[in-house]
Subunit: 210 residues, 2 copies
DNA sequence: AAAAAGTGACTGACTGGTCGTTTTTTATTT
DNA sequence: AAATAAAAAACGACCAGTCAGTCACTTTTT
């Protein structure tokens, strides 16, 4: 005779996660006390421990949000047949994600997670796996572009992917520090960066498929 | 009748700072206890407090290392008359700094500082001011390049600077997480990025000075 | 001898986590 | 439909351990 339905259980879980997200975003993992999370969640101390074994459990559950965007990115990248257009599309999605006010807390927690990844192996794995997906996506696009003669062949696809991801990460940092950034202008610069990877004169020997 | 010379005093201070750097690099600011720093420094608990008022004092003293490279960057950027060559030179210096094993601890502490900047105003100011200097340097180079017709004029110099800095920051993260990165290949990609900012056909109306 | 430098046991506040108790919900019986 | 029983869910006072920081004292140097 269980008391609450699975739906209610999941809702309570989310309630705690949301409280923890807000607290961690404000003060980081280690400066946030369980008491803070308890207070913010509106539940009691003991109730929280019914849903999460420990504070570390909560941290691991929040350190990484890759599960949210997996599908979106994939479809965006594949949307157009043109690999370079795919890269541009990824940048557009990213720019939107970067400027969404509702995502502020997640971005901040993400940064705390980046630091925590340096000392917590599980968080590190979570973070690294989280960037593996978009990286693989970019690598695939670039390799296709290189095969089609659209992207310079003397550059490593992996290297290009890491550069793009580094740009994303850096902008999250700069944005979260509250610097006033002209996102439009910056994304225009990133677009130029991508165009810089394009072959000067398209290799006609093996041309694109469409 | 003071007991130790200024030189000795400074040396003791460094001794503590080095111990704190190593500890913070390993475990972050908040998971490192004063006891850890005390033990590692070889001094006593009380002695540390003779040199630093509080743990926060130590954090602020270490959160940012801008004072170390101020001179170097400036001379490197100005070394050649060509602004674009100046950007390439900056990237080379940065690549060297990124791969220097002796700098590992500083890079890691830097990342912890990036997270701490989200909640500690003084650390934030320190971090932001720390990137202001190289940013101003890049902006100056780019604006000169644009004036000389070497760099695309439809891009904001600020935006380009922020993109390059974001790349730097992102690579620090990825490197410190222990991913095996082909730094050579990545820096080659960054070089291509910089070349991408160059005007396709040099603007002949106002050509460079040399 | 005098004063700074250095020591380390100690403290009070706070931490994450537990557990005996109370409340709420549902299944069953009346 | 009302009463009952039982178990899950929620509560919050409590605990052992840890923390940053202090201070009465000893050592070292001039």
């Amino acid at each position: 005779m269980p008391k609450i339905s699975d739906k209610q259980r999941e809702s309570r879980r989310q309630q705690i996660l949301e409280a923890a997200l807000a607290c961690f975003a404000e003060d980081g993992f280690h400066q946030t006390g369980m008491a803070d999370i308890v207070k913010r969640s509106g539940l009691s101390h003991g109730a929280v421990y019914l849903y999460f074994q420990s504070k570390d459990d909560l941290i691991e559950a929040l350190a990484d949000d890759r599960h949210r965007r997996e599908g979106v990115l994939n479809s965006v990248a594949q949307g157009s047949g043109d690999p370079i257009e795919g890269l541009h599309a990824l940048v557009r999605v990213y720019a939107q994600w970067l400027t969404d006010p509702a995502g502020e807390a997640r971005r901040r927690v993400g940064i705390h997670g980046w630091a925590e990844a340096l000392r917590n192996r599980r968080v590190r794995n979570s973070v690294v796996e989280g960037i593996d997906m978009p990286r693989a996506l970019i690598v695939a696009l670039v390799e296709r572009g290189q095969h089609d003669g659209l992207i310079k062949r003397d550059l490593g696809a992996e290297a290009i992917a890491r550069v793009l991801i580094a740009i994303f990460q850096g902008f999250v940092l700069q944005k979260c520090w509250g610097e006033d950034i002209d996102v439009e202008a910056c994304m225009a610069a990133v677009a130029v960066v991508i165009e810089g990877f394009r072959t000067a004169k398209p290799d006609v020997r093996r041309r694109a498929r469409m």
